[in-house]
Symmetry: C2
Subunit: 353 residues, 2 copies
């Protein structure tokens, strides 16, 4: 508290990210990091730019990276925006596109940053309850609103909307922007980026943190028709015109280009999710149909807090999100390597005896 | 233009950074980049972290870097904030500390981003005219206000305020925050960071882009008493909790620690500024008393636009800022290497015959 703070600063409730412990040798399954290292081509590209040229500003238009992303999705470069992690991209999108007179809509159980952005930018919002089975019912998002933002797959449930459902949402909100936040789309979903040419009210947000194993590099992106991207650029150029460093640009461009590595690692993670789900079901967990790189599970008999506590005693961290009463008995567990999943399953076997 | 933009997005006039041409072999003296490469220790530290661990999120508290900066300035770690370039740090400071009911004050000739932040965050501001000799008169900033922000040395003039003048400013504004933006302080000024323990209303902002030769890495920082830093953290954690990548943290920490390299390069730049100023005076330029890594010059006979045009034809880019009528006949020229300054002086000799 300080008498020098703005009123806004006093009123904020900042987001609390998942714990990043400084202890090593933990099995860290709490922040959905990719168990595989980044593409070797991305690492080489970064090594190549770490040197004397860092004295020079990076390209503020991020052209090479945007071109590489445009090519991947069959879009034009002016339909691509990039920023310092998808959190920054989302923040700009809230300010540029979702700050309207009416309330914006998002689910009551979703990425916990959405209400924080709402409060930061003075945007009214309504948190729409998920269906009984924790899925999103798109019909709930067709009434009057100032915009809609959905995570797809949703976090922390992992439940996926089809492109048909997203199409319904876009058609039902012709005067408002619909943002689809696809942080986890590459682990089993189809990206709505394919719908960009067809819908002028669609913005798709993605990140390199999960499926490209680059959480440590901080690169996010958005896809939309040029007029929406221009709106984001106006905010970005009024806030920080150089959001991406030279190595971030080089590493991200190379990671996007290495489609073979991307496909191999994400397929392995999907197979591991299937294996882990079967093991957890055998231990009497029920779970959502997750298409993300995590599972969202509840145990038939033991409470989530007790399980999380037992795992922590054994050096395993998972995420227990308690904000919403409907899901406070669930745990979100990242899909790790085979070795990490083995350790997890074996520890759960001990805890649940 | 888009009907989907927020009202704010329509109204903004984004900042226009100095040109970053993609042509090579230019003598680029337009964005005050350091002519020397970054510290070799910083380069080694970055090379060491470019690898598998980039799959993991960076430390959101940036502890190691903040500790290293705290030590350098004799402060505590909770008196240090870091962000994605000083532009992001300034943006957070405007929103956290300068958004008050009264108008904030800054000079009519200064960093062109200040009015952009004002417009972005709905902060009223008054642009106070510089004195006749283009210096800042601190007495002009002692009346009622919502806060004060001054660049020291000022940009694009390079004129420096003493710590005594800053002390007067702080004492005269006990109820408001005074931000001293020290992007260029290491080229001949004394940092107001030394005054942090004494004044609870002081925030000092710096960058690694200029004196640490790391414009390509995007790291900025702020120093102030813990309650002010907490205000910045509240905004940061409501916007983007992970602003700095793993390599940015590693490179910045090592650059800050390499004081010997920092001192050697900045001393060389100051000596080169002196030499360049003498050469320009001999060519009938007048100039401010710049304590930055640029000179701010006006020619006795030829107009700034013509000189800039003549230099560009010879592959040399300097900055001609035309926004303010009082300084539109000046050029801001970065202090380059000896070779670059030689090329510049020789080209000016041709243009001015």
């Amino acid at each position: 508290m300080s008498r020098y703070w703005s009123d806004l600063t006093h009123k904020l409730t900042p987001y609390v990210p998942g714990e990043q412990p400084k202890i090593t040798n933990l099995v860290k399954l709490n922040t959905n990091e990719n168990p595989f290292p980044p593409s070797p081509q991305a690492v080489s590209a970064m090594r190549a730019v770490v040197g004397d040229d860092l004295r020079l500003y990076p390209d503020p238009t991020c052209s090479e990276l945007r071109q590489s992303l445009a090519q991947l999705h069959g879009l034009a470069i002016d339909q691509v925006f990039v920023g310092n992690g998808s959190d920054e991209v989302l923040a700009h999108a809230f300010q540029a596109l979702l700050k309207q007179d009416e309330r914006i809509l998002f689910p009551d159980v979703t990425y916990g940053f959405y209400p924080v952005y709402g409060d930061l930018f003075g945007i009214h919002y309504e948190q729409v309850p998920l269906a009984q089975d924790l899925t999103i019912n798109v019909d709930d998002y067709l009434g009057p609103n100032g915009g809609v933002i959905l995570a797809n797959p949703n976090a922390p449930t992992g439940c996926l909307l089809s492109l048909g459902q997203i199409r319904t949402l876009l058609q039902g909100n012709p005067d408002r922007v619909v943002i689809i936040d696809e942080a986890y789309i590459d682990f089993g979903g189809q990206s709505a980026a394919a719908l960009v040419p067809e819908f002028d009210n669609l913005l798709v947000v993605q990140t390199l943190s999960k499926s490209r194993s680059l959480a440590g590099l901080r690169v996010g992106m958005a896809f939309g028709q040029a007029h929406l991207i221009q709106g984001l650029e106006r905010i970005k150029n009024s806030f920080n015109p150089y959001p991406l460093s030279r190595e971030a640009l080089a590493g991200a461009t190379a990671a996007v280009a290495d489609v073979a590595y991307f496909d191999k690692t994400r397929q392995t993670i999907m197979a591991m999710r299937q294996w882990l789900s079967e093991q957890l079901a055998a231990l009497d967990f029920t779970m959502t149909d997750s298409k993300a790189n995590f599972v969202f599970v509840e145990h038939a008999r033991m409470g989530a807090a007790d399980i999380a506590g037992g795992l922590r005693e054994r050096g395993i961290i998972v995420r227990h999100l308690t904000a919403n009463p409907r899901t406070q008995n669930y745990l979100r567990i990242s899909v790790g390597t085979q070795a990490e999943c083995d350790v997890l399953v074996s520890a759960l076997g001990e805890i649940l005896v």
